[in-house]
């Protein structure tokens, strides 16, 4: 029964919720104290930040050839990593789908995807830089691994939601395994896959502009170098072009999604 007291806003909290909030507040205060924020530091930082912002403008596009070369490499890394990641995650997500495969197959596939997803692409990129040397190859491999983690998870979830009636119907005709996949499973998930893949291309584009910080190719290396040389007006030009590239990519992938109604 609702009484007048129950209708107060915000709603009265029960004891467990109050304790949870209290615990969170104590933890938050403790974590804040770890940051060592002092008023003097904030004031100095604000002053420095203002000087910094002044130095950023106007952006300096004089070295546009270097800028364009970096952006092009980032774009190439994103495209190749997305395609490779897509090609690898299709079979892996089929193996991980619990409605199509036995448990002893799904667990290793799921574990592989969790590991790929747990590390930030930049950390994976460091390892690949150590393994295959500086350059775009390390970036492509790192983003491929990251794509496998995310696309694999999304694909698996999509496959697990399909209707098994159509799969059974195809199977009943005596179709071999590959035909069951091609005619029973793929048509049901195709448009969602397009949506996920274009989302992944988007996120790879963002990350491909960053893996250069650890030497894995793309505009990130140029950005990091400019930062370290205090070349702030060039930094501003790079950041503005990265934003433009990402927004252009987003518009493009939205157009693709509209074509496939995903």
């Amino acid at each position: 029964m609702a009484t007048a007291a129950d209708r107060s806003f915000p709603p009265r909290l029960g004891w467990p919720a109050r304790l949870a909030w209290l615990a969170f507040a104590i933890y938050f205060a403790y974590a804040l104290s770890h940051l060592q924020v002092t008023p003097a530091r904030v004031m100095a930082g604000l002053e420095f930040g203002y000087k910094f912002l002044v130095k950023l403008f106007p952006p300096d596009f004089q070295r546009w050839e270097l800028l364009l070369k970096g952006l092009k490499e980032s774009l190439e890394i994103a495209v190749l990593a997305s395609v490779l990641g897509l090609l690898i995650s299709l079979p892996v997500s089929l193996l991980a789908a619990r409605n199509l495969m036995p448990a002893w197959v799904t667990w290793p596939a799921r574990f592989l995807m969790v590991v790929c997803r747990s590390f930030h692409p930049v950390i994976i990129a460091i390892l690949f830089v150590k393994a295959v040397g500086f350059g775009a190859l390390a970036g492509i491999l790192a983003l491929t691994v990251a794509s496998l983690g995310f696309l694999g998870k999304l694909f698996t979830e999509a496959i697990e939601e399909i209707s098994l009636k159509q799969v059974e119907a195809v199977r009943a005709t005596g179709a071999p395994f590959m035909s069951v996949i091609a005619y029973g499973v793929v048509p049901q998930v195709f448009s969602r896959f397009i949506g996920f893949a274009s989302y992944e291309l988007d996120s790879n584009l963002r990350n491909s502009t960053m893996v250069g910080i650890v030497g894995a190719g793309g505009i990130g290396g140029t950005l990091f170098a400019a930062f370290q040389r205090f070349d702030y007006d060039f930094v501003c030009a790079i950041i503005l072009s990265i934003i433009a590239l990402i927004i252009a990519g987003e518009i493009l992938t939205n157009a693709v999604k509209k074509v496939f109604r995903a």
Binding site: V37, V79, L80, V83, V132, G135, L137, R206
Partner: protein, 269 residues
């Protein structure tokens, strides 16, 4: 086509000519982009052939993980990363809420204000956490403060956008009822909009925290605090067994965070 007319040679097709053309164009562009990328990207073929061997060598040098280094050098740094993620998320959400309200067209009826808020959200989303971290390290010096602010500023874009989308999806009925009763704007927000978006709000805060735990781990590479700094040190000193230990602890923390988020989400939503 009239019944009884001459048989027309016509095949049923699922998509119209325009749709097929559009799809074909998408495929064409994808293939062209891939071919162009393969032809122009600067990759040394010997490195590709060599890659599996090099990777195996790297893994061999990483084994066994140096568990002894955990208490002294990894534990505190790892906790720092989690603090950075939590405080950053709270600050980011606090800054994102006003922009979320301003960007929602049904809450803020002035189009120019919507666009200003949207521009802020798009910019925050497009600038990577690492770029924010480079900026704040330059301003506040290396350390956890720079990392926390980087996480907070980048989170504004994500949280603000999804929050404004949740606001725009609310049902107008309760809001009209409140307005008709003469409720002031603050009451319309707290009794009309807020109860309708609470589940979406908590779900996206938890989701963002999960992402931020992963992001806070990399921040140390540019000097913004957390376990990334320990990782960077170990890498620069080629202490591969310690690198392996750090990676294993990161894996454990990230998986634990994901499990925690799933559990909390089930309980409160």
């Amino acid at each position: 086509m009239r019944a009884g007319a001459t048989v027309v040679d016509c095949e049923w097709q699922r998509y119209s000519a325009g749709e097929r053309m559009a799809r074909f164009m998408v495929y064409l562009v994808i293939v062209a982009a891939v071919v162009l990328s393969i032809r122009t990207v600067e990759v040394i073929p010997e490195f590709i052939i060599d890659a599996p061997e090099q990777l195996a060598d790297l893994l061999k040098r990483m084994w066994p993980p140096d568990a002894a280094s955990y208490p002294a050098e990894i534990h505190d740094a790892l906790l720092d990363s989690i603090h950075i993620a939590t405080v950053g998320t709270v600050l980011g959400v606090a800054m994102a809420l006003p922009f979320g309200f301003l960007a929602a067209r049904n809450v803020t009826p002035w189009p120019w204000l919507n666009w200003v808020a949207r521009l802020v959200l798009i910019s925050a989303r497009s600038i990577n956490t690492l770029v924010f971290a480079l900026f704040f390290v330059a301003v506040f010096g290396p350390g956890a403060l720079a990392g926390t602010l980087a996480i907070a500023f980048h989170s504004i874009g994500f949280v603000g956008r999804l929050f404004s989308e949740a606001l725009e999806a609310t049902s107008p009925g309760p809001i009209e009822a409140l307005r008709a009763a003469g409720a002031p704007a603050a009451s319309v927000i707290s009794f009309g909009y807020w109860p309708q978006v609470v589940p979406a709000f908590w779900s996206l805060v938890l989701f963002r925290w999960d992402i931020n735990v992963r992001e806070s781990i990399v921040l140390g590479l540019v000097g913004a605090g957390g376990v990334g700094m320990a990782l960077d040190n170990a890498l620069n000193l080629f202490q591969w067994t310690r690198v392996a230990m750090i990676l294993l602890s990161i894996l454990a923390v990230v998986i634990a965070a994901e499990v925690a988020v799933t559990a909390i989400r089930k309980r409160i939503i």
